[in-house]
Symmetry: C2
Subunit: 188 residues, 2 copies
Amino acid sequence: MSVSALRQEFILHFGEMGSRWGINRTVGQVYALLFLADEPLCADDIVAALGFSRSNVSMALKELQSWNLVRLRHQQDDRREFFTTPDDFWEIVRTLINERRKREIDPTLTKLRELSMAEPDPTDRAAHARIAELRQLIEQMTRFHDDLARFETERLVAILNMGARLGRLVDGAGKLIPIRRSKPQSKG
Amino acid sequence: MSVSALRQEFILHFGEMGSRWGINRTVGQVYALLFLADEPLCADDIVAALGFSRSNVSMALKELQSWNLVRLRHQQDDRREFFTTPDDFWEIVRTLINERRKREIDPTLTKLRELSMAEPDPTDRAAHARIAELRQLIEQMTRFHDDLARFETERLVAILNMGARLGRLVDGAGKLIPIRRSKPQSKG
DNA sequence: TGTTGTTTTCAGAAATTACTGAAACAACGG
DNA sequence: CCGTTGTTTCAGTAATTTCTGAAAACAACA
């Protein structure tokens, strides 16, 4: 299978960026190919298009599945497995954020909770406090993420588009400006 | 220099997570050590604490400087360079986001802009459209980030703490709900 | 200028990660 | 049960990244 110059360049870019994104070249290229593909592809299509070994493609697909970045499809009267990426870009964004959080943040949060349990040695007073502060910061951010993740896409996009106007909700000292008839609130 | 059990565990964790975060073990451990340190450390302190070679520590410090994650300090009557991490956690968060964006997103945005310039081959119509859509999505998100990045920390934290209440600003169809007496606004 | 204390560079060694081909495995139709 | 078609596993190899020690470069100063 031949790949147009446009696709080629996109695919190669994803391959190169892969290492920065925490995936390898093969995974990056396979994802890019599927992302642009006009119809679902099977493993051998991918081998034909990219020239990796069959087993490498198999590994890459497994990795992409573990990231929830591809969907598996079966076609009528065909035993082969076909793969696509979701059509909805916002779904892809959500998936990426969730998976990265799972891999890059959650294990550290667990560790920080564990560490801030134990009563510190007197010489570690400051370090212990700093660990607790980091834990609180991460908890605050993940709580925010949990809140946003519940919104439907429309609402998220609307908030995104508010951009700088969000600042008007809050005064410079971090106090909420009352919206409609709710009571003013001060921060923790 | 000996390191307490608490610090040790924190440092080892950062070393292990390093590869997921796009830095290597040495860089992760050096950062963790500095993060918990009660006072600025020089390169030899780090060698003594972690047991890496002097040159490896030098590389790691250079890498951390390229990430803007450490501050360089000089002490009275001492030629050596001492390093610290910023005290302000939110500053660290901003730095991390900025640097990751610079490394993981901006190059791709540049590439996508380049690719969506060229007039596509007829067979690439759909792929071209998908690239353009991806470009727009990333532009929308980076624009949002630019907006938020201008806020002072107080304001950001207040927005973070609003969490789920942000959803009330916007109705289910993505329309802004008028705040106070401003005119209703519709999106894009 | 030379001396001393420091940081940086760099070529190669060590460790890790990515990739391959061959074999094992699974599902299905005769 | 066998053969066909497709997927996965795995041991070994290739490629890449990390780390080191030695040497070079640098900066401050007598």
